[in-house]
């Protein structure tokens, strides 16, 4: 892992671009800012082009002879397939509204990380090969030759974008750099240019059902570890089911929740909540991934991975699907799943068996977000909660980019948190809700070798957390995203030591008073509950 400079050094950022024009400034690959190139075996698993051993640090990336043709042909094809792409290539006026809206620009000061310029990397090639002025006048019309260096530049910068869509909130025409990045990455994938950190999970998910490559028995045993902990904490033994036919609900969550803190605590939260409700639900080891790294690869790959959820729901004969806390998973479910793999006519419109509420907003997709589900439970008074158990926590909430700008789930998690915690503080207005900053590690950037990039990209988020940390003593950063739970702890340790990270359902389960539970002295992390230390049952 590359050494990351100290926070004091990293936070000295120069936003002033050089005098030299960007087309004349060659790209320098900086250690710590990019990922390893993908291994051949991952590409082979999913049948992707050009599998070979290569390194992103090498001069020669071992591209096929006709790489240029492939790229231009791919651009042409996508111009015809995506109105967004064609339009966004044409209508940017370079007003600069987006320039300082990207966390990667704010964290690096690298002008190519301004969304407008990241888009221009592609647009310049588009102009040169696909517009009349560009074909005739070339550079004068903003056109640029597609060269090997341009390709490398694309790779470097399209993997410095977390597809968070923050730029598109401020753009007067709604130009969404995520769309351009996604198409850029899709094109790069035609040449076998992916990162190991993305291609690995994709291959795992394809073959084994989840990004982490957990096999069925491992999923079960991981959950059993959690059940042991739950028994220690509550005295209650929970017995969830796996791949059970005839269950009412299929529960799908990102596999990150099955493995590694603090995601596992969130997972324990689901288990405890569903047990307390007596919910007729099942886990699946086959569709054991809510997240979708295929989405960071190509639309087709994303669809191939996503297909399993409906396929499994159909096989098990469930009535509807409940989805766990995850960011890009929910952008995919909200905006893509039904279009790709629907119609879900074998399912029913979701109705909460506990409250009888009908989730009309999910009447086509038939998949409900667990925060919607739980908010409804609390509103209908179905949960007995003791928020004082979270009194040692001062909580703030980080809106994940995808659920914020690709869905708009803002109030549900806040409503839950306010009901299970007594101390909740919002971060500054410019950093939450639709203007939220990315954790800096989204869209497949949460590898180890690009740690400096992640710390830089997460700087604006950390900076806002630090604000409430100093002002209100906030010590817990809640979120509804598995990548956040994986990435933010590192970010907090680096920028704001003393702030821990949690999923919303961990907080729920901490406050949840369960039937027949013993008096709790520990929270879900097996840490003593303040004020309850002496009350331990012997």
């Amino acid at each position: 892992m590359a050494k990351v400079p100290k926070p004091e050094e990293l936070s000295k950022i120069d936003y002033k671009p050089s005098k030299k024009r960007w087309m004349d400034t060659p790209v320098e690959f900086k250690e710590g800012m990019f990922c390893h190139g993908t291994r051949a075996k991952y590409l082979e698993t999913v049948g992707f082009p050009n599998p070979r051993e290569w390194s992103s640090k090498d001069e020669d990336w071992k591209l096929p002879e006709n790489w240029k043709e492939i790229v231009l042909e791919a651009i042409k094809e996508r111009l015809g397939k995506y109105r967004s792409f064609r339009l966004f290539m044409d209508i940017c006026v370079r007003c600069g509204a987006c320039a300082d809206k990207c966390q990667f620009f704010l964290g690096t000061g690298d002008p190519r990380n301004m969304p407008v310029l990241r888009a221009e990397l592609m647009r310049s090639v588009y102009r040169r090969y696909f517009t009349a002025p560009g074909k005739i006048m070339g550079r004068l019309a903003g056109g640029r030759e597609l060269t090997y260096d341009v390709l490398k530049e694309w790779w470097y910068y399209f993997y410095q974008c977390s597809e968070c869509r923050r730029c598109s909130v401020f753009c007067p025409y709604g130009i969404d750099q995520a769309e351009i990045t996604m198409i850029g990455r899709e094109i790069l994938n035609l040449l076998g240019l992916n990162t190991d950190w993305i291609a690995g999970p994709v291959a795992n998910c394809y073959a084994k059902g989840n990004h982490l490559g957990l096999e069925p028995h491992t999923i079960k045993s991981n959950i059993e570890f959690m059940l042991d902990d739950i028994e220690t904490i509550t005295g209650i033994r929970i017995e969830p089911t796996f791949n059970r036919k005839g269950a009412e609900i299929l529960f799908v969550t990102p596999s990150g929740d099955l493995f590694g803190d603090p995601g596992t605590y969130t997972c324990m939260g689901y288990l405890m909540l569903f047990h307390e409700l007596g919910l007729d639900y099942t886990w699946s080891t086959y569709a054991s991934e809510g997240g979708n790294f295929g989405f960071f690869t190509s639309m087709e790959m994303a669809k191939r991975l996503n297909a399993k959820i409906y396929a499994e729901a159909k096989r098990l004969g469930v009535k509807w699907i409940l989805g766990g806390e995850c960011g890009h998973m929910w952008r995919v479910i909200n905006q893509y799943m039904d279009t790709w793999n629907g119609p879900a006519d074998f399912l029913e419109v979701p109705v909460s068996p506990i409250t009888g509420s009908r989730f009309d907003n999910a009447r086509a997709t038939r998949m409900v977000h667990v925060a919607e589900f739980t908010a409804d439970l609390i509103k209908q008074g179905k949960l007995k909660l003791d928020p004082t158990r979270n009194d040692h926590l001062k909580v703030t909430f980080h809106d994940s980019c995808n659920t914020a700008r690709g869905m708009g789930i803002f109030e549900e998690p806040r409503y839950i948190i306010k009901n299970v915690c007594n101390h909740f503080y919002e971060m500054p207005e410019d950093t939450i809700r639709e203007k939220t900053f990315c954790c800096g590690s989204g869209a497949g950037l949460n590898a180890g070798e690009n740690m400096e990039l992640r710390m830089r990209g997460g700087f604006p988020r950390a900076n806002a957390v630090n604000y409430v940390h100093q002002r209100y003593g906030v010590n817990m950063l809640a979120n509804i995203c598995a990548i956040d739970r994986a990435a933010l702890p590192t970010l907090m340790d680096y920028w704001v030591p003393g702030v821990k990270v949690t999923g919303v359902h961990e907080l729920v389960a901490n406050a949840l008073v369960m039937k027949g539970e013993k008096e709790r002295t520990q929270d879900l992390r097996l840490e003593p509950l303040p004020g309850k230390e002496g009350a331990e049952n012997v």
């Binding site: 339009l87 370079r94 320039a99 002008p111 004068l140 007067p172 394809y206 036919k245 919607e372």
Partner: protein
Amino acid sequence: MGALFSFVAVILLILLAYVGVEVAGMQPIFGIVIPYAAVLTFIAGVIYRVIKWGRSPIPFHIPTTCGQQKSLPWIKQNKLENPSSSTGVIGRMALEVFLFRSLFRLSKSELRDGRLAYGSDKWLWLAGMAFHWSFLIVLLRHIRFFATPVPSYLNLLESLDGFLQVGVPRLFMTGIILLLAVTYLLLRRFYIPQVRYISLTSDYIPLFLIMAVASTGILMRYFFKVDIVGVKELTMGLVSFNPTIPKGIGVIFYIHIFLISILFAYFPFSKLVHMGGVFLSPTRNLANNSRMVRHINPWNYPVKFHSYEEYEEEFRKKMKDAGIPVEKE
């Protein structure tokens, strides 16, 4: 360099019109042929562009949601920033097109002692609004050259625009605002380092061109007066397809109409098409209802995915050992 090139190009255009009319006496070319060609290019070009966009489908439903979604009945949805109905979308688009909603969000970030601070920054919004609205009013005011009798709403527009009653002919505020706004938009390209860095030649051309159009218009109205009746005779001739060149119209008029013609003809091939494009932007003009209504991707095709059967085939023993139910024992 882009700025200099654009500036010189516009100066050359002015000279071209000047020489063409004053020296070569090519009034019919500059007053009739070029304006006709420009308008034709403009109309055909814009339609071509829009149709070209329209021929690419919207495969996925990708609105950028900027407010609370519609979910549980007791949670207040933000119907304008995250619409789930057509009415909401129309409202959102209207805010965007008429009031530049997104630009209004603009903030400025500043790094002080390792901390980021955000402050409101409405200058670009203000200049953008001033520029586009005054341009529109100026354009509408020109209808008086293309209609007899002039529609009555134009009287109202002119009286509002000239309500200061300064000078003779009465000063129209929009002309001045237009010129000021376009100057601001140009200056920010010079002085804001990031904006300067991203600016291309094609960003400067329209600015200088519009500046020249506005300046010649203002000069003509207040300083180098031309025979206005003659001008109207010419413009009416154009729109009634009976083109004539009345004698004695000052050269500044021909420069003005030539620059406008260039602007119109340039429009469809430049970033100026954002005028039409904003209406088609899928991150703005779609309702966030994709969990309620199924959307069809016209090029959707079946894909190969790892089926459950293949999965069980591979893991059957492990599944059985772990007590996970299987299809085939």
